[in-house]
Amino acid sequence: MRKTFTPAEASRTLPLVKRIVADILVKGKEHRGLVEDEGPETVVKEDRKNVLEAELQELFHELEQLGCSFRDWGFQIGLVDFPSEIDGEPVLLCWRSDEPSVGYYHSAEAGYAGRKPIPTKLLEPAPKSKA
């Protein structure tokens, strides 16, 4: 059965997810540069592409092991979706790599363009600091 996250559970994965996504963005941008390169196809270029593809698949797999998925195929903003439920409906909690916590969601059909803030009642209050 597919794992689902509460907003707080998704935010708690962020220290690890951030590291994985940072690696994906670096390798993804290099891969994109190679598939955009109009120069001649060389063995060296092809080999590098193959290495990057294998490394990227490994990183995507690491995210999937955590229960979330990478969604930014331009490798610029680093989007990750976490399956969840809000008001009994299946949704995807949506985090982008410059956000401090998971604060948005959208339906599977709407995608990022349909992002809405997660209702406050579902967000865990921040831990109180000691006086």
């Binding site: 891969h31 994109r32 598939v35 955009e36 109009e38 196809e41 092809e46 593809e53 990227l56 698949q57 995507f60 998925s69 990478f70 969604r71 930014d72 195929w73 331009g74 490798f75 610029q76 903003i77 989007l79 995608g111 990022y112 363009a113 349909g114």
Partner: protein
């Protein structure tokens, strides 16, 4: 192969306005070819296999374009290649033509047309773009090539084709073409 793209004249007849960059509007794979931070309004409701969005100030035009495969997918050495043209047929010229080539299984056609990418963590085979027309013409041409071994086990290609018109209007068509027998 020909495809009629945009046929949209009056923006006021469309529904609610979703604004954002091309990535925020759900097509991050094209973010590298458009100016960073370019804010667009998504035309909704969307038609399957198409995406239209416009920047502030655009929208008063006849955004028509057809795509024509000038050279079908063929083998050149160890690579597969093809050439695609984008031909403006309305009163707006094109200033950018970009194309992303994905390996695809025929069973994933529907998902590709809905989302613009194959399901799963598939990486593109090729991403090409051009910002000037073919010499002495108004149409744009792109050649895409990739190693044939990269499509072993696949039976189709998914093509995401983006044109940006002179006033900034962006149109994307997601289409599927068969691969030659391997």
């Amino acid at each position: 192969m020909k495809k009629l793209l945009a046929s949209l004249l009056l923006l006021s007849s469309f529904g609610c306005a979703t604004r954002g960059t091309i990535a925020e509007l759900g097509r991050p794979e094209f973010a590298p070819v458009l100016p960073a931070g370019l804010e667009l309004t998504l035309v909704e409701p969307r038609v399957e296999g198409e995406f239209h969005a416009y920047p502030k100030g655009a929208g008063q035009g006849d955004y028509h374009c057809r795509f024509q495969m000038e050279e079908a997918v063929h083998k050149e050495g160890d690579n597969l290649c093809f050439t695609m043209d984008a031909i403006p047929t309305g009163d707006k010229r094109i200033k950018l033509f970009a194309m992303i080539v994905w390996p695809l299984l025929s069973r994933d056609e529907e998902t590709f047309k809905k989302t613009g990418r194959p399901p799963g963590n598939v990486l593109p085979l090729r991403a090409v773009s051009v910002a000037s027309p073919v010499l002495d013409h108004e149409y744009f041409g792109l050649m895409a090539g990739f190693p044939a071994e990269k499509v072993k086990g696949y039976d189709e290609l998914g093509l995401s084709k983006l044109v940006q018109f002179e006033d900034g209007w962006v149109a994307i068509a997601d289409v599927v073409i068969p691969l030659p027998p391997q």
